[in-house]
């Protein structure tokens, strides 16, 4: 059964989607390079990479790369096998159906996670390189915590979009609406609605959001909201793990209960 993981890992690497995710993963790196070059060329500018690093990574990774890559990969967990009609090979094997979706989602977490972490590491190096080796080393615990938060985020988003991909006909559109609509907007709402988002718990875990200095970004809504609306780390981790388990269960139940018609069925 464990071979399914290797099978899906290879499948993920060979997919065209992998190329897109790799390209997307390089966007924050390219943006960081542009900022670095700008700060070097315009020496008198107020551009301080160390100060904007938290906001930059927060927006680029938590609100762009992580959810976007998860939408494209997650919706394909069941969706791709149905669309490409290869599901019939998989569900006629003597393996439990949960293992098909669970291992495919896990392979997605590993491949997307690898791209995100490499991108995050390169961004970190580019944006803190000028601050000296000591500062670079001091930031490593915080860097690792961010990596953990993003992997946890992937573990929630992947089965969530996997479930959406198994239910809806246009799952990517629905997924994008979810991450750039619900997740991006509601996480900032006052009141309790934010507790219904994944992003809120990720914000709470992401050390870069915690380190944002309100003075450096003025009294913006953004800065105030980040500083004011955090849930304790242990609770955030517990909620995210529960969500990951719940969405994985939903995705699995779906494959057990739902029949997938092929065009040849009559």
């Amino acid at each position: 059964m464990g071979y399914l993981f290797i099978f899906f890992l290879r499948d993920g690497i060979h997919s065209r989607r992998a190329v897109w995710i790799l390209v997307m993963g390089m966007i924050p790196v390219a943006a960081a390079l542009v900022l670095l070059l700008s700060s070097r060329i315009f020496e008198n500018s107020d551009l301080n990479l160390r100060l904007i690093y938290p906001q930059f990574t927060y927006l680029m990774f938590l609100h762009f790369l992580l959810p976007l890559a998860a939408v494209f990969t997650g919706t394909a967990v069941i969706g791709d096998e149905v669309e490409e009609r290869t599901l019939q090979y998989l569900i006629t094997r003597p393996v439990p159906r949960w293992s098909i979706v669970a291992f495919k989602a896990l392979a997605g977490v590993v491949t997307v996670g690898a791209v995100i972490l490499v991108s995050f590491a390169l961004t970190y190096i580019i944006m803190t390189a000028g601050s000296g080796q000591a500062r670079l080393a001091r930031g490593i615990p915080s860097f690792l915590r961010s990596c953990g938060a993003m992997i946890l985020g992937l573990a929630v988003y992947m089965p969530l979009f996997g479930f959406i991909g198994g239910v809806l006909k246009k799952p990517v559109f629905a997924g994008l609406l979810f991450v750039f609509g619900w997740e991006s907007a509601v996480a900032w709402f006052p009141g309790n609605a934010r507790f219904l988002t994944v992003a809120h718990y990720l914000h709470s875990l992401f050390p870069e959001t915690i380190r944002i200095d309100p003075d450096s970004i003025g009294n913006s809504f953004f800065g105030i909201a980040i500083s004011a609306n955090r849930t304790p780390a242990t609770i955030s981790i517990a909620v995210l793990l529960t969500m990951a388990a719940l969405f994985t269960a939903l995705m699995t139940v779906l494959l057990y209960r739902k029949e997938y018609r092929l065009e040849q069925d009559s």
Binding site: Y3, F7, E84, Q88, P94, R97, Y256, R261, L262, S266
Partner: protein, 304 residues
């Protein structure tokens, strides 16, 4: 080995399979019916891909739906021509053996044996995406037989194969039946089924029309004219020659597309005679097929 009781499958208002009851024993059983008859739906029900709306399916006494353990005994060759095209033939078959739970060495051994049985050794290290339709069909069959299942469910396995491939595959299927495997083969071509088995189930519109010995069904079918389409060099001469025989009831021809369609009440004699006519008159035959509509007509006749 396989027992089906009052099996029905609906898709909303559409009936896929309608109240089927039958049993199959070891040996080859042919599912014969025109396209859209419900053969594929039946095979997908048999492999647990679809849940019966009513009735039951038992393989070796066990239900199939949501019972992955029973699939260890089942080999399935789907009709659809879909693959992970970046895989080589060998990796495709070996991969499925690994998913079946065999270790790496055994998976490779089983894959090699199945690939060899299907005559694909030369092409096993090429990507499936570069295969011809016939080669893809062979590799699909290899993955179905590699784990040595007791039950083989083959959905139109001869589609797209060249004559030699067809012949070899039909021989293999017959041999597997003789070895005690329960093999179900679906096809819409009578003479293909005829070469593999005497036992057939006639299916149309999801219902079982007839069950049993092929000769009885053949007699029914033979009483109905068979259409044979031919593409050849000299349509006029062949048309004239064919019309000399009493069993040929009509010939329609189109000179521009070099194609004719003859209607015969004696298909066996027609097919035996055709090569001699072609040779004697220097006619080169490019292709020959029997349109599926003919089988549909026979089924309509049986339903009436």
């Amino acid at each position: 080995m396989i027992r089906i009781d009052n099996l029905s499958k609906w898709y909303g208002q559409v009936i896929g399979v309608n109240d089927l009851t039958f049993e199959t024993e070891p040996g080859v059983t042919g599912f014969l019916g025109p396209n859209g008859a419900g053969k594929t739906t039946l095979l997908r029900l048999l492999t647990g891909q679809l849940r019966p709306s009513k009735g039951s399916i038992l393989i070796d006494g066990q239900p199939v739906w949501n019972n992955h353990a029973i699939l260890r005994k089942v080999g399935y060759c789907p009709e659809l021509d879909v693959f992970w095209n970046y895989l080589t033939g060998r990796k495709f078959v070996t991969g499925f053996m690994r998913i079946h739970g065999f270790d790496s060495e055994e998976s490779q051994g089983r894959a090699a044996k199945a690939i060899s049985l299907m005559g694909m050794e030369k092409h096993q290290d090429k990507k499936i995406g570069s295969y011809s339709r016939g080669m893809r069909q062979r590799i699909k069959l290899a993955q179905a037989i590699a784990h040595d299942p007791d039950v083989l469910l083959l959905d139109e396995p001869l589609n797209g194969m060249d004559p030699i491939g067809r012949h070899q595959t039909m021989q293999l299927i017959r041999r597997l039946g003789e070895e005690g495997k329960t093999v179900i083969v679906s096809s819409h071509v009578l003479h293909e089924i005829e070469e593999m088995t005497d036992t057939i189930l006639l299916i149309n519109h999801g219902s079982l029309l007839a069950e049993g010995n092929i000769y009885e069904i053949r007699r029914l079918i033979d009483s109905h004219p068979l259409q044979v389409s031919i593409m050849c060099d000299n349509v006029n001469i062949l048309t004239a020659k064919l019309l000399e025989y009493d069993d040929v009831k009509s010939v329609q021809f189109d000179r521009q597309s070099s194609r004719l369609t003859a209607e015969t009440v004696s298909p066996d004699e027609f097919h035996m005679r055709l090569p001699a006519i072609a040779l004697d008159n220097g006619i080169r035959i490019h292709s020959l097929w029997s349109p599926d509509e003919n089988l549909e007509a026979v089924f309509d006749y049986l339903v009436r």
